[in-house]
Amino acid sequence: MSVLVEGFSGGGSSKIANSVEQEFYANYEDVEPNMFVENVPAGINIGSTQNLFEYINYSANLSVCKLTAKRIAIVAYEDNRSSNDGIRCAVYDINDGSLKNVKVTNLGKTSNEPECIRTAKLTESKFVLSVRLSSIAYVYVISVASDGTATIGTPLSLSDCYRADVCAIDGSRVLFTHVNRSGNFRAGVYSVSGMTVSPGNSTNLISTGGYSYCKPRICRLTNNRFVAFMATDSSDNWGYATFDISGTSVSSVKSEKPYLFNAYQMAGLVRLDDNHVLYANYYYGGGDWEDSNAAIFQIASNGTVSLKSKLRLSNTNVVSGYEEEYPGFTELSADRITGIVYQMSPFDATLLKVNSANTQITELGTKALISDSSATTKPYLIYDGIKNNFSMLWETRSTGYVRCRHFNYANGGIQKSKTKIDGVSKSKATRTTKGKVLVLGG
């Protein structure tokens, strides 16, 4: 079945790239001048804000793939209300505290709007892209040239797929997970050769009872072991599945449901080490895990998951991301500092630090970072590769832009963030708030 109807080959990229570049500069001044907040936590400094490119106001159509410490690829379904709508791959280099646009490639149109987009790095110049149209998932290999030009390969189509997600195991294998209409959470390892992904077998890991409420959060623990948390019934009772991979085989190690907790779907999961994960959630409406929590879970060698510690976060806003999206919860540095971005406007961020024994979580700072009245869901945090530096990408609803701002965290220190955008200084204001200097751009 052909769903990707035309142009999914990178054609017309230079034209698109040029128009985006013009918009990038033309709309820079449109960034709200008051996009700052009063209560910035100690040590978090706000850098410049960038409009990266125009983009449809839909919350599930953006994925960021970090190719190298300095290069990212953003894949987004873009609808500029003209005939140029389609899936774009925008490559940016993280350059001295800002994102420098390298190239935007229009990968092509789809027959309708994709439900979700996922990316996972294969190599420094290649990543896997998964999009879902109706109940069919398409998995592509995307190659990125040194000049940023993206080339798309032949898709592998997979039917009866909901909650589809991808994870690159290595340069030649991809873990593809999904939930089928019957509610079975499944995983398969598929081989990547050149620009194609070969079909393979997938394995049932846990029966959740329904795909509509099962939204797995998947975490790679080791080279061969993964754990997935997910709601396993319509009452938001969460269970888990621990599974191993070997070659192109997937084997279930342990699964239990409902088991872990009762929590709302907005949640994130990030690896701490080979047998610990950090989880954060928001629960709407009471229950045993009400409000926002962060928790450490231990995964035993037999796959059993158990709660090790739990912290009620001081921010009760909503943890990103919405529905099946969750990349707002991202590791920041090697110092066991993890950032959580809350999705509602203004964007709040909490920085957490987990102790080396994985027994305690400390809040390093929580408050709004961005007050963007048009902000919508799916903020991404990107560790810049420089200690305590990170960027946040988010999308906007009313203006339809992907935006980016750079941050720096230092333990109580005051450091001015960079305000350059593609080499152009745009710093507009300086404000002192609670003894902290914020250098504002935009």
Partner: protein, 106 residues
């Protein structure tokens, strides 16, 4: 009983019988010795020990101060029966209402 109260709005955040501390100083409230418990950010909460808690008091629904004791949380809102966020709930209501109107049923 031990209660944990928000410094922000005096909302009761937790109730339990055992108070522990993490190394970072965070209070950890446990229901019993086998409970992992829940930790709270020290700067955000006040811990009250040996508090008589009326049966009707529930976490979130009530506030507490030493001066006034327990009182209903003015910010408390009963969750909708579907347990989904208000935005989604309202979107569903709006869409369904529009559907009914378009079909002449409303």
């Amino acid at each position: 009983m031990i209660i944990i109260v928000s410094k922000h709005n005096n909302e009761v955040l937790g109730m339990g019988f055992i108070l522990d501390r993490w190394d970072n100083g965070y209070p950890v409230l446990k229901s019993d010795e086998s409970d992992i418990g829940t930790a709270y950010v020290t700067e955000q909460v006040t811990v009250y020990e040996n508090v008589d808690v009326p049966a009707e008091v529930e976490v979130g629904k009530y506030c507490y101060t030493e001066k006034d004791g327990f009182y209903a949380n003015p910010d408390w809102k009963e969750p909708n029966k579907y347990g989904i966020d208000d935005e989604t709930y309202n979107t569903i209501i709006d869409d369904y209402t529009l559907d009914l109107m378009e079909n002449g049923l409303l």
